[in-house]
Amino acid sequence: MTDTAPSSTAPAPGRDPLWRMIALAWPRGTRFALGVLLGALATGSGIALLSVAAWLIAKAAEHPPITALSVAVVATRALGVSRGVTRYLERLVTHDAAFRTLADVRVRVYERLARTEPVNRFRFGDLVSRLVSDTDATQDLLVRGLTPPLIAVVTGGATVAFCTVLLAPGGLLLGAGLLLAGAAVPLAAAALGRGPGRRQAAARGELSTALVDTLYGAPDLIAYGAMDSAVRRVAAADDELTRVARRDAVLLGFGAGATALITGLTVWATLLLGVAAVDGGTLSAISLAVVVLTALAAFEIVAPLPAVAARLGAVRASGERLFDVLDTPPMVASPRCDREPPEVSPESGVDLRIRSLRVRYGPDEPWALDGVDIDVPPGRTVAVLGPSGAGKSTLAAVLLRFRDPDSGTVALGGTDITDYPLDQVRRVITGVPQDPHIFASTLRENLRLARPGAGDEELWEALRRARLDHEIEAMPDGLDTEVGAHGMRLSGGMRQRLALARALLASPRILVLDEPTAHLDPDTRDAVVADLLAAAEGYSTLLITHDLAGLDRVDDIYVVADGRILQHGSHEELAAEEGWYRDAL
């Protein structure tokens, strides 16, 4: 393929991706609010347990009658139970809400993708899997990114208010301590960690490249006696990474140290203020015990927060990538009118006429197709042949309606294809794309995709035409065989034939076969082409290929290079005339 990824020209909406992700989760807000409430009760229970217990003991020290303690005794026991129970419920509620949000977000993302079909972004598997994990990051945002700080705000506020009532300066001090430990320290730690993160990522990248070269290139290195120097390069990269990591450890320890310092000093200062207040008569001895022990327990509130900053950063990065894809405008404009495609009987077929077709992937990009004229008369088999980078796959993308032509026409039965709704064109033109996707399901489901509700006889008929019937009959589960992710349990040739059978089931009028033999080894290549052409008998077929195998069976050959047609004729004509085709034979 010549296609280079198009530059993202989407207008970047001004909103922070984090907010946009929250907006996606908004419909489930009530469930999350319940989760936050339960979480606050859990954390609150833990702190209240110590406050009540401190009161109980300080009061007991005055040897009151047992009835004076009974409420505190009951409260202590209740708090001992409630913390575990509410925490358990909180986790269930937030996870359930996160999964519900995930379903919402996946559907929204998918609907958007299905509308814009940014297929050229999807040629690289890792981009797709990243998009999917970015979508799934919404779960993280809610469970680990938003819930903990909200719980901290609720419980922190309540605890500070309680302490302020007992001892105003002590309460304010605790508030300051919690703010520092819960917000300032995590933010500062994140800021301090940015440099080390960058440095280590760079060093890790170097190491990774050196490792990839050494392990993947091992046979070449060994054959040429260069393995030792490659291993030395790995060792040097490893040294650098280790050196950077050890040096930066000094910065990364900051968070842990600062949190411990603030916790300890807050407790100390509370004690100091409390003792002075008791001495001055403004605080009862019982309240002193309560305030100091509450302060001691209160830092549990901020413990989960340092992880939040990092989590939110990762989620924002996910959001940026996600919305970058979602904001891509569609490559195909809506049809100018909602026309039905020409009704044609299977016998007569339909005529495909391409005139002066020009396509490029951006205003500054070279023309991938530069004025191409091709005719596919009804029932004929036409091949488009050319070296890689000639623009052949762009042609397939235009015919399958993944791209609009920049200029020129593609006429189907006399009407331009851009005048039809997408799906109407695809009812007439379908085929086998260069990397047909086989779904992780059964053979039957994969086939039925093309014709839902097709009976087994129809499926077997398609498999027979694709010469796959014998192999599948030999499988113990037949059509119910699970093919595995990407159809990995099938051989490359079988996947290609399965994709062909699927295209045949859709019974289009025009069949586009884009590099059906790429990724096949030479022995199976010839057989697959022969079978494809035999199966396509009776269809108008456009075979796109870089390889001359089987071209003596087609009616017409167009040789394409650099987006232009070099030669045109039958196999015999081209073989006889001076030029590219004869050289390649």
Binding site: L56, V81, R83, P219, V267, L449, A506
Partner: protein, 599 residues
């Protein structure tokens, strides 16, 4: 999975140092926890008895000192742990790389054993006819970089908490037992219950999760599958219909996961419940006994402050368990690889039959005259395979002549190249070589030092690997000291000079990871330039023009013909397209070599 892999402790010195530091730090933290509790109890009780700030000044000052000491300790512990983690990761990484490449880690100086078949096997070349090794190379790279980073958390967070979980509860128990035996009994009974209940719950969950694992996996992968197949769905007009299916499957995934989580969260529930309930029980118990005068206020406070501390490290260990298990799992994977034998190297084999010592080193020093090579009923069976890749192969390769090996894929023709490259050794029969000048003796190939032998060979694989280096650097692979003029000359001979010149920086252009800049035909010509620069008497070519379009194939063909002039050549190809370039054609079928046809 054990919380602390003994192999990790044994192999990495940094780990042992780290453990010692961690234990020492934990002892200090335990002391500070106890001191803080005692000081707070003392201060509050003192104030209750009517002492003022002046009377309690040393206690209060000591609380501040403890706070400072704890802060310094946690900073130091975290920093030290990250530093040890960096070192331990580096040690593991080096062992891993040394093992899979067959080189030795540089902590064994003087060992210059050449790379063995390990590395070759890794990239799927040792068994070229059905090689599936490349994915493993990818796994190794991930493991050695991001995989091992999981050890950071393990070292810096989990191990210290593990040490504290062992030390703090015991020390607290001892102190509380001295102060109030009944509280100590409550703590002593509940503490061990926590791990027992957690183990029970975990055991139950695991059985349950495993039955659901497949279902979860399938449901979880569905969305990715649909998005990856979007263009296929679009072609068949099914794209829009999938949205409902996505919602249905994701909801099903949620229900299944939630039913698993309801059980999985029980383990944390038990931990929270028991630890909090125990503190509540202790509080009520000391409160009532305090009321009856069976306990003094200060002791009661001390017990109340210490009771939660006994459970805290357990909870922390529980909270970090999963993150840390990733680290343990990564380390375990490394050990699995390191402990896996990779088969004998060429040198090992030579040592084994005692021929290494008698190897005529003179052979290595012989001028570039090609050796005469003879295969005597050579057989090869890859480890773990039943069907031999080669059987009873007899073949004679004359200096300066060119042989074409044809046959379908899987017939064993690439295995023959592997044998000549000594990526692998015959499992039966032997390969002999002879210096063509005079009437020297036939020498077993295994007796020739591997490095010296490979210097006689230039190899152009079917998919040459290009390194993330400059064009010149890539061509210099087998001749690192060659001048730029020599490199350019080799590129000219390989029909590569023209396209290299128009690259942005010519010969200094970096090719990017795996030579991403170049097309298949250009990569092939870079590999040919390597072979020209190597200037070796024997040339091995594997499917030089397969998968190339006609233009590129023609250029490669010209260069190959030029390369073969005056050299011994062996070309492997699936068809006889090279027949007019060679002197002899032999057909390989199911591991046997057919009759040679002289042309």
């Amino acid at each position: 999975m054990k919380p602390l892999d003994p192999r990790l402790v044994r192999t990495a010195r940094a780990v042992r140092v780290h453990l010692a530091v961690t234990v020492a730090g934990s002892v200090a933290v335990t002391g500070l926890v106890l001191a803080q509790a005692w000081l707070l109890a003392r201060a509050i009780a003192g104030a209750t008895e009517g002492m003022g700030p002046d009377d309690l000044s040393w206690v209060i000052a000591a609380v501040a000192a403890v706070a400072l000491a704890r802060a310094a300790l946690s900073y130091g512990a975290e920093t030290a742990a990250l530093r040890s983690a960096a070192r331990a990761k580096s040690e593991l990484r080096r062992r891993l790389v040394a093992h899979v490449t067959g080189t030795r880690a540089n902590d064994v100086p003087g060992d210059t054993r050449p790379p063995g078949p390990g590395a070759v096997w890794l990239s799927g070349q040792a068994d070229p006819d059905q090689g599936t090794g490349a994915p493993r190379a990818g796994e190794m790279v991930t493991l050695a970089t991001r995989g091992l980073d999981a050890l950071d958390d393990y070292f810096a967070r989990y191990l210290p908490q593990l040490a504290l979980a062992a030390l703090v509860p015991l020390s607290v128990l001892v102190v509380v037992a001295k102060a109030d035996w009944l509280s100590a009994v409550i703590i002593a009974v509940t503490l061990p219950l926590i791990p027992i209940f957690m183990a029970l719950v975990g055991w139950h969950t695991q059985a349950r999760t495993q039955t659901q694992w497949r279902l979860l996996n399938r449901l979880g992968g569905h969305f990715l599958d649909v998005v990856e197949g979007l263009s296929t769905l679009a072609i068949f007009r099914r794209a829009k219909a999938q949205a409902d299916i996505i919602r249905r499957i994701t909801d099903e995934h949620r229900r299944t996961t939630m039913s698993t989580l309801r059980v999985a969260f029980l383990s944390a529930f038990v931990l929270e419940l028991l630890s909090t309930l125990a503190v509540a029980l202790v509080a009520v118990e000391i409160g009532i006994r305090l009321m009856y005068g069976m306990l003094d206020f200060e002791t009661a406070l001390l017990v109340l402050i210490l009771a939660p501390e006994a459970y805290l490290p357990l909870r922390e260990v529980g909270a970090r368990f999963h993150a840390s298990m990733e680290g343990v799992a990564a380390a375990e994977q490394v050990f699995q690889v390191i402990e896996e034998p990779l088969g004998k190297t060429a040198e090992d084999a030579a040592e084994a039959d005692g021929s290494a010592a008698t190897a005529p080193l003179a052979f290595a020093a012989a001028p570039a005259g090609a050796a005469r090579i003879r295969l005597d009923s050579v057989g090869l069976t890859y480890p773990g395979r039943k069907v031999p890749a080669l059987r009873g192969v007899d073949l004679r390769i004359e200096p300066g002549r060119c042989l074409l090996l044809t046959g379908p894929s899987g017939s064993g023709k690439s295995s023959l190249l592997s044998l000549l490259l000594r990526f692998t050794e015959p499992t039966s029969g032997q390969i002999l070589v002879q210096d063509p000048r005079g009437d020297a003796d036939w020498i077993p190939l295994r007796a020739v030092p591997v490095d010296a032998w490979r210097e006689h060979i230039a190899w152009v694989p079917q998919h040459p690997y290009l390194f993330d280096d400059t064009v010149a650097g890539n061509i210099r692979l087998g001749a690192p000291d060659a001048s730029l003029d020599e490199v350019r000359r080799a590129a000219e001979l390989a029909e590569a000079d023209a396209f290299i010149r128009v690259l942005p920086d010519g010969y200094s252009t970096r090719l990017g990871e795996r030579g991403a800049r170049l097309s298949a035909g250009q990569r092939q010509r870079i590999a040919l330039a390597r072979a020209f620069l190597r200037d070796a008497p024997i040339v091995l070519l594997d499917e030089p023009t397969a998968h190339l379009d006609p233009d590129n194939a023609a250029a490669v063909r010209t260069a190959v013909t030029r390369l073969l002039e005056g050299r011994t050549g062996i070309i492997v190809a699936h068809d006889t397209g090279w027949a007019d370039t060679v002197d002899t054609v032999a057909h390989v079928h199911e591991g046997r070599i057919g009759t040679e046809v002289l042309l």
